[in-house]
Symmetry: C2
Amino acid sequence: MSHADLLADLHTPCLVLDEAIMRANIARMDARMSELGVTLRPHLKTVKSVDAARQVIRNGSAATVSTLREAEVFAASGVEEIFYAVGITPNKLPRILALRATGCDLIVALDSAEQARFVAEASRMAGDRIPALLEIDSDGHRAGLIPASDAVVEIGRILSDGGADLRGVFTHAGGSYEAGSEAALRTYADRERDAVVTAANRLREAGLPCPVVSVGSTPTASFATDLTGVTEARPGVYTLNDLVMAGLGVCGVEDIAISVLATVIGHQRERGWTLVDAGWMAMSRDRGTAAQPLDQGYGVVCDIDGTPIGDLVMIGANQEHGIVAPRPGATTAAPDLPVGTMLRILPNHACATAAQFDGYHVVQADGSGDLAYWPRFRGW
Amino acid sequence: MSHADLLADLHTPCLVLDEAIMRANIARMDARMSELGVTLRPHLKTVKSVDAARQVIRNGSAATVSTLREAEVFAASGVEEIFYAVGITPNKLPRILALRATGCDLIVALDSAEQARFVAEASRMAGDRIPALLEIDSDGHRAGLIPASDAVVEIGRILSDGGADLRGVFTHAGGSYEAGSEAALRTYADRERDAVVTAANRLREAGLPCPVVSVGSTPTASFATDLTGVTEARPGVYTLNDLVMAGLGVCGVEDIAISVLATVIGHQRERGWTLVDAGWMAMSRDRGTAAQPLDQGYGVVCDIDGTPIGDLVMIGANQEHGIVAPRPGATTAAPDLPVGTMLRILPNHACATAAQFDGYHVVQADGSGDLAYWPRFRGW
């Protein structure tokens, strides 16, 4: 059945997922991690859907999350070991302990002595050794300890001696999203590895345990060549891919698994504009490609079958209006798209755009004549 | 009861609404519209909550919406006359007619002959004269007809002769959000008025009806001085206000009714950074103040009582991490905010930030010792 036939009756704007593309993305990353000899602990903040997650983690039972809501939903769906990769706070410990009491091996993140102290204290009080990974800074982008610093050992000891479970170290090279070349991405991947391996060695030399040595991000996982000493990687956006990843060379535009289905609502023909019913409420305000050599506006505009139309992008967005036009400098004119024409728009950032919707309308990989619907969740 | 006591047990990040501020914002706009002699048809895309809408439209039964979901929810809550202000498409007509059949006077928007033809045809087929407002372009910002153009009369006649209900004209000066001065805002307001009054006169001179002459936007409604010939205004963001409105001089920072409650999760002290558990998933990616003289980053950081802390703003955001620091050029150092400290962050754009949450935790205007919870809805 053609995409046009499958999608024609949907209310727009809505989110379409091409399952065959997602499966290929997952298989590619699975194979890559196997080659590099590390475990894949996929970050589920991108898909935020139990149905999608079942495919992402079908070869394992470990995952990464960015909210306690994600931890609770995925634990309930059967994921056995979950790393909550945002710095732990005292007010989140009751939910952490409650979820651990259900049998989920939930692991927390921290990078300070004050956090190590309250995690250790909570472990003693609850009689439950809360596992923790120390965050290591590999690129000055956000959080984390200096890899070779004495603080790594000091904090590791507070946890280990205080009754918590020092599980290891992790880093995330968030700066890799702004890398300008494949060589720069390889450098970010090397820095991630060097940072966590250095920190792991400091812990081990001090007689402390460090079973987990974890790196993360789709760009670094895609370009790493040597992960010696690393035990696991935590990419997430590779499952769906997006224009930022395509701009980095991580994937092609044809590897983007999600798009926003929209309907033409009007024109300003003398300006070459076509207006659609997907604005920033549907696409999100993310303009991640604005900093890349090829600025894709609010998204690349495709026909209903998912094929990009010439140089057409969403050049502007209001809340529920998108302005579609050839990109600046394009040599092809805008095609005439009558009111009512359905289009599909590829997003800058899969995590941000997907979050604007309550679920995926899934074009199934088995060529089924029906769409599936996979609910998403949100909140904290 | 202090805000600190009221809010201390909430899970962060979450959305806090100060009802007293919202009520004052509503009362101010109600009074202003009365003085100018126009009906207020508030845009409910900002609050997206039946509880909040009850206060916004308590003096009337007419509203504006940006999605059919909003129309359906607010109609079910008792709003009798709703203007759906996004260009109509054929695939939306079944829902339009179904909602009208429930007794709601739902009005559609259009700006082309092709739309007028299918709306007229649907009216004849259904035996229901669908009311429509013609969109008029007052600032070249998005959609709409040239005010004095023959097309206004042509399209009005297709509707009126074809069996639809030509209800009038409307415009929205979206460009006013980028105005650089109060004088510029007054000019936008004058242009809105001139555009719709000109178009209304063209219709009337041609013997066509035009009972509704509608302008819209919080900035123009706040600075208009003369709305002669206009019958109604459709502002929305004034209900909650935000940093973009404060930057335009529409309100003060103290008039912003919503904030995101967040918890400190860590530090990079040598950089002066405090990290919080509200990233762009909570704040949205909206950076509306980036184009204003005072760039507020991803938001102004307040203590738990809602008072801004020195020059502290959210200078960066990842999905679930916000980086808080003094704004560039600030002369005051960042205060020490231990892990676990709760903060409130004022948003760039109320519509975008509020949309990231499922409801408002409401500090009630009556000084109640309890928080109320007002659910929001989303989707299309």
